[in-house]
């Protein structure tokens, strides 16, 4: 009897410690983000208060109002940044997907000499640190006059995203048996039709997850954007965060408000496709 009770007690403690650890881990994940959201609604007086104010009081939308307000009220051209980010991220994602689909299809369906070497070579271009790449890009773009334009940044982000897109999409096309397209061709489809009518619908999930990754990368990128954009007409949101810092002080409340605006689209997008996201990574990687 005693042993039985002991083992019951042990499993009870295991269960409790499991839940406690899980709770602590989830808190560490959530609190930093929630702290930002909370502070975007707090007046600066409360943020700076000593001793700290723990129970939120007087939450308001002042930070957001100031951000969207005119330049005189400490506002930043946030709508402009938002539009820039949206244009640049969406365009570069779409282009990267088409380029990546063509490349991924080639790697999944054709056999050719030096295939592995080319594949690794393409992937390695992704490993080049942004800051090391930004130096020569800065000079080249300044010479060709596409610095500080949407076009320049779109070009860079397409190049950044293509290797990873090819990797993921290649993994997905490999899952589809080649017989499927061959059968369609026998039935009178051209190869082009067979691709769009048979293979693409099956690989759609993979393309979607590759698209999300490409979008998130462009949406969140900072190292290159901070050097290649100068004016409000091409600055993206991550670069815009800098507008709230001055030499010695940082407008924390305003920055938190912009941060919330930065995170919302990424959050919505990820929730919609999170299932594909995980399967995309695993298929592309393990079984590829």
């Amino acid at each position: 009897m005693n042993i039985n009770r002991l083992s019951k007690l042990k499993s009870f403690f295991l269960k409790v410690s499991h839940h406690v650890t899980l709770f602590i881990a989830m808190s560490i994940i959530c609190i930093p983000g929630l702290w930002i959201v909370l502070n975007s609604f707090r007046p600066t007086v409360d943020i700076m208060a000593k001793p700290p104010v723990w129970v939120p009081r007087g939450l308001n939308l002042d930070n957001y109002r100031a951000m969207f307000g005119g330049a005189g009220e400490g506002g930043v051209p946030v709508m402009q940044y938002f539009t820039n980010s949206l244009i640049i991220s969406c365009t570069s994602t779409i282009i990267a997907l088409f380029v990546g689909m063509a490349g991924g299809y080639a790697f999944a369906r054709f056999r050719f000499k030096g295939k592995n070497a080319i594949f690794v070579g393409l992937l390695l271009t992704r490993a080049v640190p942004g800051v090391a790449l930004s130096l020569p890009l800065f000079i080249v773009m300044a010479k060709t006059g596409i610095i500080d334009t949407h076009f320049g940044l779109i070009l860079v982000y397409v190049a950044m995203n293509v290797p990873f897109t090819i990797w993921l999409i290649d993994g997905f096309f490999r899952q589809i048996p080649p017989d499927l397209a061959e059968a369609a061709e026998i039935d009178g489809c051209t190869r082009w039709q067979a691709f769009w009518k048979v293979e693409f619908p099956v690989a759609k999930a993979g393309v979607a997850s590759a698209g999300i990754f490409a979008f998130l990368t462009s949406w969140n990128e900072y190292a290159l954007a901070s050097q290649l954009t100068r004016s409000t007409f091409s600055k993206t949101m991550p670069v815009g965060l800098r507008d709230f810092t001055s030499e010695f002080t940082i407008n924390w409340g305003g920055m938190c408000a912009l941060a919330v605006l930065l995170i919302i689209p990424a959050l919505i997008l990820t929730f919609i496709v999170q299932k594909h996201l995980i399967s995309g990574l695993t298929f592309g990687g393990v079984k590829g």
Partner: protein, 298 residues
């Protein structure tokens, strides 16, 4: 028609090659050339002033460079290992949950959506010695009387930066390892139980070999993007104060843009590029080895 002669596969990967050559290869060749000159942004004519390997020798002899180099290696080693172990732990914790697992998985992905620069600002705020969450909490709880200089002291600043980096990237590992845990067939686990294996033994000899490829994928994905930590460091401390948290990437950025010594910065940039390529190739080799072991090789 010339393109009729080219094989189809080549036409398909041609757009990728063209764009990568234009945006990455050509600028890199240019930076390779300029790393052998005394190029300064402020004086364009110095681009043609060939000085051989002077920049590289200067870097090799520079204590600042080696300090930053060593710190980068240390930073990457600690961060990647911590991310892997914490990710494994988190995945194991979540995989045991029966109810509400979907929600936990969603929460787990939360940090992945954050922009690295935002993560930097967020933790700069949280570790701020005056108004930060950490110091406020410590003081309110009476654990510390004075403000702890999280981002000023050398060790604490390094700790804060690694904390931010680990916070951001652990979820990549956790998600992938979790996917691996779900793909493990149940039979060997049960057979092991019947044969009297301890939980540790069945984890070590059944679970771990199965999730190894997933760990390496996560490592490979992370290593592709390893310099992403630049954003965090640049925002949180920018290598300072007094170079106490200087890593290779911040050193390159400062030399290139602030001091305008493009040639020298590009020479150091090449060191960082080879470092990143080394990490990537290393993990891809491991990934392929793990695939072969599981019989999933291409």
């Amino acid at each position: 028609m010339i393109y009729k002669k080219l094989p189809q596969w080549f036409l398909l990967i041609l757009p990728a090659i063209i764009i990568l050559a234009a945006v990455i290869l050509i600028p890199l060749l240019f930076s390779l050339y300029s790393s052998f000159t005394s190029y300064r942004l402020t004086r364009p004519d110095t681009l043609f002033n060939w000085i051989g390997t002077f920049n590289y020798e200067k870097a090799v002899k520079s204590g600042v460079f080696w300090a930053a180099f060593g710190r980068t290696i240390l930073f990457l080693t600690i961060a990647l290992n911590l991310e892997m172990f914490l990710g494994l732990g988190l995945a194991l914790l979540v995989s045991r949950v029966t109810r509400g697992q979907r929600m936990l998985r969603t929460i787990m992905m939360f940090p992945m959506m954050f922009s690295p620069v935002l993560v930097g600002f967020q933790f700069k705020f949280i570790f701020n010695d005056n108004v930060g969450l950490v110091n406020n909490a410590l003081q309110s709880l009476g654990l510390s009387n004075s403000a702890i200089p999280w981002l000023v002291d050398e060790k604490l600043a390094m700790f804060s930066i690694i904390f931010a980096e680990v916070w951001m990237s652990t979820s990549v590992f956790a998600i992938l390892i979790l996917a691996g845990l779900f793909s493990i067939p149940q039979d060997p686990q049960e057979a092991a139980k019947v044969d009297g294996c301890t939980p540790w033994q069945s984890f070590r000899h059944i679970t771990l070999p199965f999730i190894m490829p997933f760990i390496f994928i996560a490592m490979a994905i992370r290593s592709l993007d390893v310099a992403r930590a630049y954003d965090i460091v640049q925002v949180m401390t920018n290598g300072g104060p007094a170079r106490r948290t200087e890593i290779l990437w911040t050193l390159i950025g400062r030399t290139g843009y602030v001091d305008a010594k493009m040639g020298y910065a590009n020479a150091m940039g090449y060191v960082s590029i080879f470092l990143a390529i080394f990490f990537t190739i290393y993990f891809f080799k491991k990934l392929n080895a793990a695939r072969v072991e599981l019989g999933m090789a291409r």
